[in-house]
């Protein structure tokens, strides 16, 4: 095992080094060169100009990316796993403000025919306000539809932090943090804590969306929303919620039909008491067998007494199978089974190195998680693997490090492999393959 880990480590050291073989506009330019290129109005921007990109593989293995620069959302693709990219196509011909940071960035999704769907938040003049925007392409990103605003409340208030997902049957779902009810309460001189979560969907390829519906009141107002779809083509949505006065734990909702969400369930019990913006949202991946793999961050108390006391009606959480020595603080994984029972939260990552921003993906019963750490000098991404649906986890493996700042890591899968997407300020946009290495460990 140790030898295998050494091989893996060596492989990633090589992968993490900047390559000289890439084209001049490739993704490994230094930030200074990238800045000069981005400032040149006579050239199209590149992915290096973007702060917070999103990416997804098509069925054929083409990597599609969505990102923004100077008032435009751009889409381009790579057929060589991010070694080089096609010239970008602007989604919105008329420039507008675009949110592009860790928790809120342009999103991209594909249907089975590789039609491309893109969403983003456009901030408005008033502080914390915004609209959720959407556009699609049915011609391989040669052109995009005129962007539309998806929130049907057009008051100048918050409609932001959207999540986008496309089901197997082509249904498109969007869910976001919405402050229309908070604004209404303010007008009535009433208090309203946090935001609400709203959603909508389209069953005609994004040409029209159904009336917005509310999922819940009092969500946390500045953490990303996570969404995936299940075997019934229904969305599953996960977000950080506000329980009681200021308890920041996570809530999940599945759906019986498109317009009938099930009752939201609380899925984390870390009891983080804080009146603040964590800027630290969860992630989920829904398996073909409708197991929900969840990861999240919380910063609750060091001891785990509150964990045991707070289980409530969730009896499956009483005995933790993971390393829970850190109480309610740090990163956690848990699975919700088809019968809605939930496995005990498994703690991962090094709290002393600020383990943060977790991401999860599955392939059948194989599950991968990734996250970011910082030791005072280097930002590092780590990965951990389970071959049995998240019941047991292999030792964490180091994937790559950088010295000058980086984006969150994201897991991406195509038919043959699993990768971590990571954009660093120095090395640019990179994909790190992890599937083949974790396969070796499993054997």
């Amino acid at each position: 095992m140790k030898n295998i880990l050494n091989i893996i480590t060596s492989a990633f050291i090589i992968l993490a080094l900047p390559s000289n073989s890439l084209a001049a506009h490739g993704p490994t330019q230094t930030s200074a060169k990238a800045s000069a290129l981005c400032a040149d109005v006579n050239q199209l921007p590149t992915l290096d100009c973007a702060t917070a990109p999103s990416a997804i593989f098509s069925n054929a293995g083409r990597l599609w990316a969505a990102w923004s620069y100077a008032g435009h959302v751009y889409v381009n693709y790579s057929d060589d796993n991010a070694e080089s990219f096609s010239p970008p196509v602007s989604v919105n011909l008329i420039p507008e403000k675009i949110s592009a940071h860790g928790e809120n960035r342009p999103k991209i999704a594909l249907n089975n025919r590789d039609d491309i769907y893109v969403s983003w938040t456009t901030p408005l003049k008033k502080r914390f306000s915004g609209h959720v925007r959407f556009s699609y392409s049915t011609n391989n990103a040669k052109s995009f539809s005129t962007p539309v605003t998806v929130n049907d409340n057009l008051e100048i208030t918050g409609h932001r932090f959207e999540a986008l997902s496309v089901a197997e049957n082509g249904n498109i779902y969007l869910a976001w943090l919405d402050k229309r009810d908070r604004l209404k309460a303010k007008k009535e001189n009433k208090k309203y804590h946090g935001a609400a979560v709203y959603y909508t969907w389209s069953d005609n390829g994004g040409k029209n969306f159904y009336k917005n519906k509310k999922l819940i009141d009092h969500s946390c107002e500045c953490c990303r929303v996570a969404m995936d779809t299940d075997s019934k083509n229904m969305p599953v949505v996960l977000w950080r919620n506000i329980y009681d006065k200021n308890t920041r734990d996570h809530t999940l909702v599945s759906f019986d039909t498109e317009d009938q969400p099930a009752k939201p369930i609380r899925v984390s019990f870390d009891n983080w008491q804080v009146d603040a913006c964590p800027h630290h949202g969860p992630d989920l991946s829904v398996s073909e067998a409708d197991a929900y793999h969840l990861v999240w961050f919380n910063n609750g108390a060091e001891n785990n007494s509150s964990r045991n006391n707070s289980s409530g009606n969730n009896s499956s959480r009483n005995n933790s199978s993971g390393n829970n020595s850190s109480g309610n603080k740090g990163l956690f994984y848990s699975r919700i089974n088809k019968d809605k029972t939930q496995t005990a939260a498994y703690h991962f990552g090094n709290n002393l190195a600020l383990a943060s921003h977790p991401n999860v993906i599955h392939k059948d019963k194989q599950v991968w998680i990734t996250w970011k750490e910082f030791d005072g000098k280097k930002e590092t991404i780590w990965s951990q693997y389970s071959s049995d649906n998240g019941d047991n986890w292999q030792k964490a493996i180091w994937v790559a490090s950088t010295l000058a700042g980086s984006d969150y890591p994201f897991l991406l899968a195509n038919e043959n492999s699993v990768y971590i997407q990571w954009k660093t300020n120095k090395e640019g946009f990179k994909l790190f393959p992890i599937y083949e290495y974790t396969e070796k460990i499993a054997k």
Partner: protein
């Protein structure tokens, strides 16, 4: 002569404007602040953080009655938002307070230079009193906390 006078006025006015702009916060800044200041509250905030905005408005009210309150305001926003940062601080009635903004090196490095165990939640406050260990608070401060701190100062 008139032209010379005008130029001097212009120079003074530019200097005053520059003085009002947030100072760039680098990896040594926290050390410098603790070296130069005695008792102070350092507030980490952002234009993108709703509770931070509420907190700064509350502090602006407190400062009216307690002009001796020594606040150090550190915005974690990008330096491209310097104008908005300054506008808001002025609007909140805190323009007499020292104001900093994160420089464009990695925010993670800057956060670590202040507190190696801070994940970046906002607002985050550090209460400093000479020769005493600092106290950190995550989340929105309340007026009573500030008054109590002032009374024990």
């Amino acid at each position: 002569m008139k032209l010379a006078g005008f130029l001097i006025l212009l120079l003074i006015s530019s200097f005053a404007t520059a003085n009002q702009s947030p100072i760039l916060f680098s990896q040594n800044s926290y050390h410098q602040i603790t070296e130069n200041e005695q008792s102070f509250i350092m507030l980490m905030w952002s234009l993108d953080c709703p509770p931070c905005i509420d907190e700064l408005i509350m502090l602006g009210e407190v400062v009216k009655d307690h002009p001796d309150l020594n606040l150090i305001l550190v915005s974690t926003d990008s330096i491209s938002r310097t104008h908005d940062i300054h506008s808001f601080i002025e609007q909140a009635g805190l323009k007499t307070m020292k104001s900093w903004v994160f420089s464009d090196i990695s925010a993670q490095h800057l956060r670590y230079s202040i507190d190696p165990l801070w994940y970046g939640e906002l607002p985050r406050s550090y209460f400093h009193r000479k020769n005493q260990p600092r106290k950190s608070v995550t989340g929105r401060l309340h007026k009573q906390q500030i008054i109590a701190w002032l009374e024990n100062n």
